[in-house]
């Protein structure tokens, strides 16, 4: 244990590592906040950059970028309605309405503190229960991923805007858009119309920027004459009583984040969406209705996505299996530095585990510090005259989309989505389900087909598997209950039961 502590404190006591972690976290916040710059991309650039270094400083830098980056996405989501990273999509749903009410400062303060809390829960889970959680994560069969994706998709029901039909349309549209490109399982093109450019699919970050950022910017053009809302920045740090009130929600959301983050097929984006859905279902009296600036609507996703960071490290450190795209890059970095990521990593290089835990903790602390400084200046972004802000949002959307994979075609998609999203908004649709469908659609499609193939393409054997495996049974029951909870049948039944009681 004392040895573990020494390794844990390594990056706290070595000034060079301390500085690198700080620099990484600081940079990460901005990488996360700028749409199109992703932590995955930054981490792979850092691998070339830190090539000739020792492994520890390289890992310290990457851990900082990762922690900061996942948090940073909430900045632009709150201030501009452009989620800086997919993990911040759910944050935009209530964060941006908060900014429109003049509470950008409060929203940033609250997300920072809850991100810190979530990050901390993730790190504790990593430190205490890593082996158990990673064995649990291995139990998830393709059909269980299908059930998880279905659970996430139920969020469409609560994000549908005027009517369920509109939500369903938007969700299905998102699924269809997510299918575009080469089918990873058969190598056939789907909706590609014979072009190579479409083979790569439509990156959902382009859709995210278009549907959220550009369509909102276009909609804002209607209120050019309206003076921007004055931001109240007198109090940034949320009060203790407010924090205590959201502690249980934050803890629940963090637990979701850890598990979803640890699953090799899912990451912070899905964790945040599921946590948001969970909050919407369980919080009886939110500070405001969800979607109109509920504090709960930023607490839940932000706790979850930072908890997913620690979660993603769990299978990576214990089994050499990446929990998400960023940890996949980190595995590559370990390889290049001559380490052998895998189940033996913790046995052969035990210091690495505690070093990483210490490092993440340090990055989390820096995230809190950097996150809470300069909020007043950031909140003023919303006060910029719209005549200047809107062109800035547009140019940022263009260059951000281009940066995803250096493709002008993606930029066209982004603009197309922006204009289409503008009409959807005008006619009472919500754009959230489209992006939700794009993220979850491919996961559902591949998991369903994998499950069906492994059942020998036999629908009956396929259906039986949902009730014969204990894990699948639990998930199936959960999906069924959630689904019933949304339908009138259940409400009627519940009403009758309570009357009898």
């Amino acid at each position: 244990m004392s040895e573990g502590l020494t390794y844990f404190l390594m990056s706290w006591t070595d000034p060079k590592l301390l500085l690198l972690t700080a620099a990484g976290t600081f940079a990460g916040i901005y990488i996360g906040a700028i749409p199109g710059l992703s932590v995955t991309m930054a981490a792979s650039i850092l691998i070339s950059f830190t090539f000739s270094w020792d492994v520890n400083p390289a890992l310290a830098l990457i851990a900082g970028v990762y922690m900061g980056g996942v948090y940073g996405g909430s900045r632009s989501a709150i201030l501009l309605n452009i989620p800086g990273a997919p993990a911040a999509i759910a944050t935009a749903l209530d964060g941006f309405p908060l900014a429109k009410r003049g509470e950008a400062g409060v929203a940033i303060g609250l997300t920072t503190v809850t991100s810190f809390f979530g990050g901390f829960v993730g790190i504790i889970a990593l430190a205490v229960a890593a082996p158990a959680i990673s064995e649990f994560a291995l139990l998830f069969a393709p059909r269980d991923y299908l059930l998880l994706a279905m659970m996430g998709l139920l969020l469409v029901g609560s994000l549908s805007g005027e009517s369920l039909a509109k939500g369903l349309y938007a969700g299905a549209l998102g699924i269809a858009l997510g299918m575009v490109g080469m089918d990873p399982m058969t190598a056939e093109g789907r909706f590609t119309f014979g072009t190579v450019q479409l083979m790569g699919g439509i990156p959902y970050v382009a859709a995210m920027i278009g549907f959220f950022g550009v369509s909102e910017a276009l909609a804002q053009l209607h209120n050019l004459k309206v003076a921007p809302v004055k931001q109240n920045v007198s109090r940034i740090l949320p009060s203790w009583s407010l924090l205590r009130r959201y502690m249980p929600l934050s803890l629940r959301s963090s637990a979701i984040g850890v598990v979803i983050g640890a699953l090799p097929g899912t990451g912070g984006d899905i964790a945040a969406l599921m946590a948001y859905d969970q909050a919407k279902r369980t919080v009886k009296n939110p500070s405001r209705p969800f979607g109109e600036g509920a504090y709960e609507g930023v607490v839940a996703p932000e706790s979850a996505n930072n908890a997913a960071v620690g979660g993603a490290y769990i299978p990576m450190l214990t089994l050499g299996i990446p929990g998400d795209a960023v940890t996949a890059v980190i595995i590559g970095a370990l390889f290049i530095h001559g380490l052998k990521p895998g189940p033996m990593l913790m046995i052969e290089t035990p210091h690495l585990f505690w070093f990483t835990v210490g490092n993440l903790t340090l990055a989390n602390v820096f995230m809190l510090i950097f996150g809470l400084t300069g909020v007043r200046i950031f909140a003023k972004v919303v006060e910029t005259p719209p005549g200047i802000l809107i062109p800035l949002i547009m140019i940022l959307s263009v260059v951000g989309t281009y940066a995803i994979q250096n493709s002008v075609v993606d930029v066209y998609w982004m603009l197309g989505f922006g204009i289409f999203g503008y009409f959807l908004r005008t006619y009472g649709f919500q754009v959230g389900p489209v992006v939700l469908g794009m993220i979850l659609g491919p996961l559902m499609d591949t998991s369903y087909r994998r499950a069906m193939i492994s059942a020998g393409d036999d629908p009956i054997a396929f259906a039986l598997e949902f009730v014969t495996s204990p894990l699948s049974l639990v998930l199936t029951l959960a999906v069924t209950l959630l689904l019933l909870g949304q339908t009138p049948v259940w409400r009627g039944l519940k009403g009758r039961l309570t009357r009898q009681g």
Partner: protein
């Protein structure tokens, strides 16, 4: 939750039918991927998504019909009202500006195209002084270029017209 009092927006009916057409298109294209030859076919989800789109578009159209029609003032038609309210000049101008910007991106290169776009857009929307617009555009562009090109080595289009 349900906002039944909203009036129909100009163009909403047409939009509903367009959504339906798009849904049917997705469904048939999805079916055509591989003719759904097995329960794990690649076309399963695309066809299903298209089906859901088409069905919900029908429900949307039905609701739109039940709404009170859009308020159309004397001497104006639906088409004109659509242009006035749904796509006012500002929206149309900005959308076209952006389209032009994207088309210019590759031939003229990122710096030139972005600068012209920023300058025109800010000048049109903000209507500030010429000098201020010039400074804001140049400053923003420099910052964006620094972050993306220099720090993150994103290779931005350099333009082939001026090579």
């Amino acid at each position: 939750m349900e906002e039944t009092t909203r009036r129909r927006q100009p163009g909403e009916t047409v939009f509903g039918y367009l959504l339906l057409l798009f849904g049917l298109f997705v469904a048939t294209e999805g079916y055509r991927i591989d003719g759904l030859y097995s329960p794990s076919a690649a076309g399963m989800f695309p066809a299903l998504a298209g089906g859901v789109m088409a069905l919900s578009a029908l429900a949307i159209i039905r609701r739109t019909h039940r709404m009170k029609p859009a308020h159309i003032p004397e001497g104006s038609g639906t088409a004109r009202e659509f242009l006035r309210r749904t796509t006012p000049t500002d929206v149309a101008v900005m959308a076209l500006l952006m389209l032009g910007y994207m088309l210019a991106l590759e031939p003229f290169g990122f710096p030139v195209a972005s600068f012209v776009f920023l300058f025109l857009a800010i000048f049109y929307l903000h209507r500030g002084s010429l000098l201020a617009t010039l400074l804001i555009s140049a400053g923003t562009l420099a910052a964006v270029y620094l972050v993306f090109r220099v720090l993150f080595t994103v290779v931005l289009p350099t333009g082939w017209l001026f090579r």
